[in-house]
Subunit: 101 residues, 2 copies
DNA sequence: GGAATGGTGAACCATTGGGTTCAGTATTAC
DNA sequence: GTAATACTGAACCCAATGGTTCACCATTCC
């Protein structure tokens, strides 16, 4: 319930297709950087950056386990952004409703 | 209900603070390019570009009225993106639930 | 008609962003 | 101890993005 508001970083993070795919992947269970990188044919360094962005957006949490880094989908990850959208969605609904007048 | 899937452009469009503010502004009623540009101290050309991006994302519809261009929040604008998020939100919930085991 | 208003399009510029490679460091396996 | 694994950091590259100005077209106002 905490999570620093910032809808800002969340949208930016989700704007990239690779990052969205990573989020979906993590939705099916946690993974290491290499496990995440492999299916994209991307370098470890590259994936590391993506994970960093996702972490900065509060969408993913990571923990170093031995030499690997375990990445997990953050709880309440999308709370801020869904709230923002639902509010606007309501606005849009009103616009739509009053349009036919 | 139509709206060409593309969660892609939507997130990218909403990643920019100016564009989010424009969307919120349009949530309180339609506006022209100049009306949108003024509060940001941004050039007309600059705002035009933003509106173009929002239009490309299906979030806004515009119509030329005389020499002005009327911009309106699109109906069902956030449908795709909220669907995407709700699905992931459910994943996140599961992750959270199974974590305590 | 002429001036002001509102929007466009083209060209340019600075920053950011996604990606790389290369040279490490820390763990784990043999 | 040596080798392989997994990540990390620094430096760099190129394309995309947010912004500008300038010149121009179309409408509206006097």
């Amino acid at each position: 319930m905490v999570h620093h508001s910032g809808v800002e970083r969340t949208f930016a993070a989700l704007a990239d297709p690779t990052r969205r795919a990573v989020v979906e992947r993590l939705g099916r269970g946690s993974a290491t950087i290499s496990e995440l990188a492999e299916p994209f044919g991307i370098s470890l360094t590259g994936m590391k950056k993506h994970v960093l962005v996702l972490e900065g957006a509060g969408l993913v949490v990571t923990e170093k386990v031995g030499r690997a880094r375990r990445c997990t989908l953050a709880p309440y990850a999308f709370e801020g952004v869904t709230t923002w959208l639902q509010r606007l969605d309501r606005f849009a609904a009103v616009v739509e409703r009053t349009k036919g007048r």
